[in-house]
Symmetry: C2
Subunit: 312 residues, 2 copies
């Protein structure tokens, strides 16, 4: 645990290969995904969400997840994958994936609509996944993503105390990481800072708090800055801001990973990532998915040339 | 003064008609500018930077500034204009413009390269403009924009103490507002928060602190959030993020005004602006300046439909 998300530094996770591909019309070939992973590894990225364990017939974009997991293992990067049910959890544990994420909704309405199960049942899946993982030879981490943590596109406003209550249940069920997810891009900086600080207090020294943000309404990087100020240790982003949301049509995707790297460096958190080499990987996205817009300012402007901006 | 930038609330200023047009290849007709101003006024925007007093032969985009100033006056909105020399200041004072901005560079290198004068001479222009304004029948405010306040594309890093020293000189020379400008998009949230807080302390209750941000590297809204947390009272933005920078080729422009409105509302600062009516004004930009990219997330996604997001 301590070696995967080391205390006292920020970890950035590239989720383009999972959340970025969740809804795309076309998706990269396995070979292109392998190049994406390999080139980002060469640029210094060490944590990736690599896909979901879902039926390949319905989600062909993740049919090659075992090959991607094997490459991640060979490269020595830390790989996370999503499991939405018991079968997915079992499939994930049978691979070399380093961390399995189970999703628990912050609202009962979204839980029922999105996953056809109650929040209590989702926490039970987390507990079961934890037990399955612990029975494995090389147990992966088991984490929880609390979706709609900053507002819900079905239930509306979400009380921070409700999110913290669910986080407490997830800790009790054995979660290794608590991830607060702004699934539909409703979050704002003070709200993110407040909830992150409370989650950090709840998790204490035992568990890192992660924050998963979408840039739907332009506040993604501002929310990331607020979460960093409040003690978040792990932040998600996707290359080029890839990845929409089924509950927010027309919305932009995850917070732009390369802009997030720049933010961290400029806030004093070294990332170890070569930002220009990272930006160059965007050419894979535009070549493989010409219909998908790519976002981000840093790739357009380049880093500042006349000031010291790196945190190293 | 107290009626123009009232204490205890945030003022947002739309600078698209000035900074947004400083570098464009094509520019709107006078009639389109008038529609832009009129429709934003109808959407609730009350503060505009409307242009520069510059030679029309070299800056034809501002040749109609007197007509725009007259319309601003008729609408009852507060108008700001830039004056880069004594002639410009005199021309501005002869109109109904409510505020004249004089620019002082944070670095001697940029001052010489950009304005062919020393910083001391720029502060003297501010003092002279102040005196000219005070001699007028209906004195406008005289403000200072401290350019390159967060880093310089010529001199590199800029020490906060140096910016504060210049701000002090400008207060002594009679400035009504101190505006910290991230001219080339080098600023980062903690840096903005730190310098803004120090400037607010320096200005005390006497003067408001303004912050002028560019979104060159994706941190514009995050920097705006940091400045709001630190007590900035007046923030600039441009519709659609219009406006590049001569010192940062290929860079995006000012922070996106409509995203800034959304940020303020979500941070608890009521703006009085109808954000959807504001977004609709973007059609003037795309019709009049088809070559200029327009930016911004809020116009694409719309405001959240399922949560209370307005600060009112």
């Amino acid at each position: 645990m301590s070696s995967t998300y080391p205390k006292g530094r920020i970890t950035l996770r590239e989720v383009g290969l999972r959340d970025g591909l969740q809804m795309v019309r076309t998706f990269p070939s396995t070979r292109a995904k392998q190049e994406w992973l390999t080139r980002e590894h060469a640029a210094g990225v060490r944590h990736f969400e690599i896909g979901s364990f879902l039926p390949p017939a319905r989600f062909p974009q993740f049919a090659d997840i075992r090959e991607i997991a094997a490459l991640a293992s060979r490269l020595g990067v830390f790989s996370t994958a999503l499991a939405l049910n018991e079968r997915g959890a079992g499939d994930a544990i049978a691979t070399s994936v380093d961390e399995i994420v189970v999703v628990v909704s912050a609202t009962e309405e979204h839980s029922q609509a999105n996953m056809r199960r109650s929040r209590v049942a989702a926490v039970e899946l987390l507990r079961q996944t934890r037990q399955m993982a612990d029975d494995a030879e090389d147990p992966p981490l088991v984490s929880v993503g609390i979706s709609m943590a900053f507002g819900c596109s079905i239930a509306g406003n979400v009380a921070p105390d409700e999110v913290l209550r669910i986080a407490g249940d997830c800790i009790e069920a054995g979660a290794d990481v608590i991830c607060l997810a702004d699934t539909v891009g409703y979050a704002a900086p003070r709200q993110v800072g407040d909830l992150t600080a409370k989650a950090v207090k709840l998790c204490g020294d035992a568990l890192p708090v992660a924050v998963h943000l979408h840039d739907t309404r332009g506040l993604g990087i501002a929310n990331a800055a607020a979460s960093l100020d409040a003690g978040a240790q792990l932040l998600d982003g996707s290359l080029g801001g890839l990845g929409g949301c089924p509950f927010a049509p027309g919305a932009t995707g995850n917070v732009v990973f390369e802009d997030l790297v720049f933010l961290c460096e400029r806030m004093g958190f070294p990332t170890g990532i070569d930002i220009e080499a990272l930006c160059a990987v965007r050419e894979i996205l535009t070549a493989e998915m010409p219909l998908e817009p790519v976002y981000g300012a840093l790739a357009r402007s380049g880093p500042p040339r006349h000031i010291a901006w790196s945190a190293v």
